[in-house]
Subunit: 263 residues, 3 copies
């Protein structure tokens, strides 16, 4: 895979990425999209999401601080996206922590088509029907074959499934990729998971013909920026700043040298 080619496509096409996301990391989700050279827009009024989504190249949904009302608005936006073949990316943030989150995720998945379904190990396992728990938004241990869980869910929902972890799994019904970029210190920073979802939104928005490859390329680039930023780790907040700025500066030489995507 040529991850840099996907990044170059984001920078060239500058996709508009419409988000209905959580209130904790909303700024960083917008900035990571901007750091990639794309355009973020955040809008959640039920009266305007259909029109806003219609302008966009991708729709990112993140249930991190969901309410019933926000999920209803997500459905309106996602329906509009489905009708226009705009890819929908859903981060099932916190699935497995409460039955309300589980129920709302299933409700979304049963109502609209999601093109990329993304979460950490216990979040994805929970949506795949496993009896696991998530500790707030932190993954707990999941037993069994992680790749099989992702693959099974991808088949069930006819979508790309992204299961993040030490190694990220990106699967659809026809292929599975392993992304081995990134460093452990990303877990010290609030919002790296949400930012990764927005990165996927920008990459899939620029390359909608192959969401699985685009998602893997996005995760690889994000992880490479983290590796570069982590070379001089002094703490999580300085690291996050450098991660975003290294992503902004990322060049072909760096991506080609550091990319670790196993197809």
């Amino acid at each position: 895979m040529d991850a840099y080619a996907f990044l170059a496509s984001v920078r060239e096409k500058r996709p508009l990425v419409h988000h209905i996301t959580n209130w904790v990391t909303i700024y960083d989700c917008a900035q990571v999209v901007k750091s990639l050279g794309a355009s973020p827009v955040m809008a959640h009024a039920p009266e305007e999401v259909e029109e806003m989504c219609g302008l966009a190249s991708a729709l990112v949904l993140n249930i991190g601080t969901l309410t019933s009302e926000v999920v209803d608005t997500m459905k309106i936006a996602a329906r509009a996206a489905n009708e226009r073949s705009i890819p929908v990316i859903l981060d099932v943030c916190g699935a497995g922590a409460t039955s309300f989150r589980d129920r709302k995720c299933v409700e979304l998945l049963d109502t609209v088509h999601v093109d990329v379904l993304k979460g950490n190990r216990s979040e994805i396992a929970r949506i795949a029907g496993r009896q696991v728990r998530t500790r707030g938004v932190d993954s707990l241990h999941v037993t069994g074959d992680l790749g099989a869980i992702a693959f099974e869910l991808a088949c069930e929902r006819s979508c790309t499934v992204v299961m993040t972890g030490t190694e990220d799994i990106v699967a659809d019904s026809a292929q599975m990729l392993l992304v081995r970029n990134g460093i452990e210190q990303m877990t010290h920073v609030v919002g790296t998971g949400c930012m990764a979802t927005s990165v996927i939104g920008a990459f899939v928005g620029a390359s909608p013909a192959d969401p699985t490859l685009a998602a893997a390329a996005g995760l690889s680039c994000f992880g490479i920026a983290a590796e570069l930023a982590g070379a001089q780790y002094t703490g999580p907040v300085a690291f996050k700043q450098r991660l975003l700025d290294d992503l902004y500066c990322l060049d072909r030489f760096q991506v080609d040298a550091l990319q670790r995507v196993v197809e």
Copy 2:
């Protein structure tokens, strides 16, 4: 114009700036006001905005993540501000992207008096009735005489109009100023537009007798801080941090040397 004198007035009077703003940039809007030496307060419960606004020297409204309910609350706050002659600053963030935003902006402008109406080129042109679109919150190209559009809207709404761009236009029915501070890299950072609005809020709050001059002075100081911060540009996030801190440190020598306001 002596932009530094307006900044000195903000630092001396420390105006309280009440915001009803968007959830993306709410932190940076508060911090930019604090970095100026003023006091931000964010409050949006309909039960308290009238009383909160009554304590304040300026009211900043920003529709970036508007809902019908929040706009209703903005009206309550702005009415209270109008009654007490507290200046109201409105950022028509995203006008031109959806008809809902356009409608809500007009509704606000028809219901309450706004002292400073601010947006980028396509946002202001849209509110002035031009058939232009905004790409999410990013300005699209606007044809025609930009100064004339700003002037016409200023006369129609009896207010100061701020149209930001490579060169910022600040106009009321009697005068037009051009602010030529700032650098292109500000567009790489999420929230510089929102922060500029909060800066205007602090400056107008400290110098309510002349909102047009105060708004231009605020934009000039903000742009100068960006020029200083941009001298060592390594990426958008490090740049934003230095912009806020350079604004905090800005002195008369810097402002006098770099100010570029054409009257």
Copy 3:
């Protein structure tokens, strides 16, 4: 007091701290908890707060951008916390600014048990029934014996009261501690007060048997990190970043050398 022992306990137990907090500083509240080695989770849907809170070691409530609906949700979460003996920390952010805030604080305190009640001088004095005002979220001058106000309120509400200021007062009905760590520049940064509350949440979550000592230890560690970060002060935003990262790196040597808690 051995403040470092309390910090070590946070890092070892990694308590999950459930927040229902304000939209301005929500990210920094989450990150400060993560920087301590604990786990933050933010959730405010009425349908899930009971279950989410049940997973947590502490519940942090902050009324900075309250609405009636959010306060109702806080009650549901706090009742669940009370039933399970999970400590509840309440930041009465902005009490004294509007009668709505005062009323909602009293309503919360009359409906559920709060274990740690925290605010700045005028906020706490207002909740203790004094006729003082708060300027937005900034403390105004409070006359009289501050320790007596805190002690009286602690007795009335059977809780620990934290009154922040140049010197922080931490009182319950049996003891009073003075925390003399921290620097004046913390007031230049939006959110240091909210972050301090989240720090208290993490410390009390890890050491629920003695909330008063744990709260004082948390404030001391937070203040020490600020002293370290402030040694090279160049502006509020760079300072905030170093504060969070110095907190992450804080070791026994630093805490023992700099701790200033008067029992």
